[in-house]
């Protein structure tokens, strides 16, 4: 075997090469396994692929090869194991070109713009990194995805919560987690042990969804209300997500508005309360100053209507009317706690 270049006889820019032995050996292994249709046995790899000759002992060589195989699989290189013929006693390795290579992909200009935008969506280094290398691969395959396409659009999904990265890693690794979480901003933080199924962005907020071991039930946790460190519990792969689970749906049911349970009728002063008017439906009885609104959560609708003071008056139902009047009384009778100290 002669490898004049890696013997150090030549360098491109006259600078000493970085300590690159392992990366170089792995590239050589990929090239060798891609170029063969036969399974290469470990012994053959040792004698023909540059880099493995450096292993001083059999043990060292097998450890080296095992590590390298694991590394390639980790990167998604489809490493096949098999025997050349039934007479072979040991396994060999190869990489099927069809499985290795990115399949041909042809994106229309508007599709390429969508991909470029999608790649800019993430602000988490992990996710942004994966999206960027994906786009580079597409571009290496000759797909013209212009990373600056549609620069007049700035998409962003924010992932700045510190707990985001460890929770995502745990969900991917199938590992249970333990953390302190406040169910409500004013509630005390409680320790939770959760089998994470995934993280979901819903209405601009991130949630962890999973099985809460303490409560033995499915729960959604707002990630910004997690305090301190996220610890992993138990081995990798111990968590499996039940089939057919729809994470977004679980969060929507836990954090989103419930389905409407009734209808409210509200009288609006002409020209005022435009927000309520936009959200409402015209009065079926034809009164131009009355709107109908879906009643889902009594307290939040009462809050919204009470905010308008005399500009919006609830006609029905009575429990909504009472809730609004109670809120207004509290404001009318609010104690004077003014103090210059808060200036």
């Amino acid at each position: 075997m002669s490898n004049t270049r890696s013997s150090g006889a030549r360098t491109l820019w006259g600078v000493p090469a970085a300590p690159t032995a392992r990366a170089e050996r792995l590239v050589n292994l990929v090239l060798a396994l891609l170029s063969t249709r036969q399974f290469l046995t470990a012994e053959r790899i040792r004698t023909t692929v540059a880099g493995y000759e450096e292993a001083a002992t059999d043990d060292a060589f097998y450890r080296m090869l095992e590590r390298d195989k694991a590394e390639l699989r980790e990167l998604g290189v489809p490493l096949e194991t098999g025997k050349q013929s039934i007479f072979d006693t040991v396994d060999g390795y190869r990489i099927a070109r069809g499985d290795y290579e990115l399949a041909p992909i042809d994106l229309a200009p508007d599709e390429a713009t969508a991909v470029a935008l999608a790649a800019r969506l993430w602000d988490s280094p992990q996710l942004a990194g994966a999206a960027r290398t994906a786009v580079t691969k597409l571009r290496a395959a000759g797909v013209e995805v212009d990373p600056t396409a549609a620069s007049e659009v700035q998409p962003r999904v924010r992932t700045t919560e510190p707990a985001f990265a460890p929770l995502l890693a745990a969900a991917r690794a199938g590992r249970a987690v333990r953390f302190a979480h406040r169910g409500h901003p004013a509630a005390p933080a409680r320790e939770r042990t959760v089998e994470p199924w995934g993280v979901v962005s819903y209405r601009g907020r991130w949630y962890l969804v999973g099985h809460d071991r303490d409560r033995d039930d499915v729960r959604c946790f707002r990630i910004s209300r997690i305090e301190g460190e996220v610890a992993t519990v138990g081995p990798r792969g111990a968590v499996t997500r039940p089939d057919g689970v729809d994470l977004v749906d679980l969060v929507a049911r836990s954090a989103g508005p419930p389905p409407p349970s009734g209808t409210a009728r509200v009288r609006l002063v002409p020209g005022r309360a435009a927000g309520l008017r936009r959200a409402g439906r015209p009065d079926p009885q034809g009164d131009p100053d009355v709107v109908e609104l879906d009643l889902a959560r009594l307290e939040s609708l009462a809050r919204w209507i009470a905010g308008h003071g005399p500009d919006a008056v609830v006609l029905e139902p009575p429990e909504l009317r009472d809730a609004v009047i109670a809120a207004l009384r509290a404001s009318a009778d609010a104690p004077a706690t003014l103090s210059e100290a808060h200036r």
């Binding site: 970085a18 991917r172 404001s331």
Partner: protein, 333 residues
């Protein structure tokens, strides 16, 4: 020298060869920028690749590169003519982001997003369910649901088109701070998607300033027969970290000091706060800026007995007066 791991470097090396192959004579600096590394790191990568090749490692077996000035060309790729297929995380981050874009009101043409999604999923997978076939999918572990009420699709399409073609727009817009619908002529500058809502950033001719318009509050939009001409000194905002940053009133706007009962603590998560002091009983004292007194009074009236005004006195007085008027309207004053 960076202590870069082989896990970052190896995939780059494997992508670099086909990327260069598709761009003969590309400047080294351009390649470095594409891969997000320094030129010297790129040169080290090329040097490494130049030492790799097929068993035998004779002159015809090694990756060959040629350099001319500051450009590089792959002469022989040793079999690396196509990139490695997308990894699980790569395919999944793109797919999840595409789904998020498809869900976001008005950002892009949803049809194009759906077609792109189908092609990415097809090209990255080996089975019917490409994402789950990946060894280590982000698939399923990250999801994005916008959960917004859809706005007026026709108005959104008009806005998107005007932004792309740089045309001026006449908007019928609901302003939440003034709780009123009004007309304004604007010169579009940019669309911004933050926290699941889409905003048009535009020069507002009436306000003579750059303003943000939330797309689901555009009730109607009409393209004007003139190009968008924001003044040369109109500045785009920094893309804020979150929607709270978009809502933040300017420095110098009036300050309110409030005590929020536990039930009203959400206010401090929802609106930008100057400062928040949590008290032992679960309540919090906060200071927040507001643009518009009427808006602040609406917030206070809605919060009822879960908020106390600590400062300023005129805010407390306005609130009580509005509440008494309202009680009179109910006939219970």
């Amino acid at each position: 020298m960076s202590a870069e791991g082989v896990a970052e470097r190896l995939p780059r090396l494997l992508t670099l060869v086909p990327w260069l192959l598709a761009r003969p004579g590309v400047p080294v600096a351009e390649a470095a920028a594409e891969f997000g590394i320094s030129e010297s790191q790129l040169r080290r990568d090329l040097e490494l690749l130049w030492m790799c090749g097929l068993p035998g490692y004779g002159p015809g077996d090694l990756v060959d590169l040629s350099f001319e000035g500051d450009t590089v060309t792959v002469v022989y790729d040793a079999g690396l003519s196509r990139p490695l297929r997308l990894s699980g995380p790569e395919a999944a981050t793109l797919a999840v982001a595409l789904r998020a874009l498809a869900d976001a009101p008005g950002v892009v043409d949803t049809d194009a997003v759906q077609r792109a999604l189908a092609k990415i999923e097809q090209a990255s997978g080996r089975t019917d369910d490409p994402l789950s076939a990946c060894s280590d999918g982000l698939s399923g572990t990250v999801a994005v649901g916008m959960g917004r009420t859809p706005g007026n699709a026709r108005a959104e399409a008009t806005v998107r088109d005007a932004v792309a073609r740089h045309r001026a727009l006449r908007l019928t817009y609901y302003s939440a701070s003034r709780d009123a619908v009004g007309r304004r002529d604007v010169d579009p500058m940019r669309l911004m998607m933050v926290d699941g809502s889409t905003y048009l950033e535009a020069w507002c001719r009436r306000a003579e300033g750059v303003r943000m318009f939330r797309l689901d509050r555009v009730d109607d939009a009409e393209t004007l027969d003139e190009p968008a001409r924001p003044p040369a000194d109109a500045e785009l905002r920094e893309v804020p970290a979150d929607a709270t940053g978009l809502l933040a009133p300017d420095e110098g706007r009036p300050l309110a000091a409030l005590r929020l009962a536990p039930e009203a603590r959400w206010v401090a998560e929802y609106y930008p706060m100057e400062d928040v002091v949590a008290d032992d009983d679960g309540s919090a004292r906060v200071r927040m800026r507001y643009d518009d007194r009427a808006w602040m009074v609406r917030l206070l009236l809605g919060l009822g007995d879960t908020v106390e005004v600590l400062w300023p006195p005129e805010l407390a007085a306005d609130r009580a007066a509005r509440a008494r008027e309202a009680l009179a309207a109910y006939g219970v004053g």
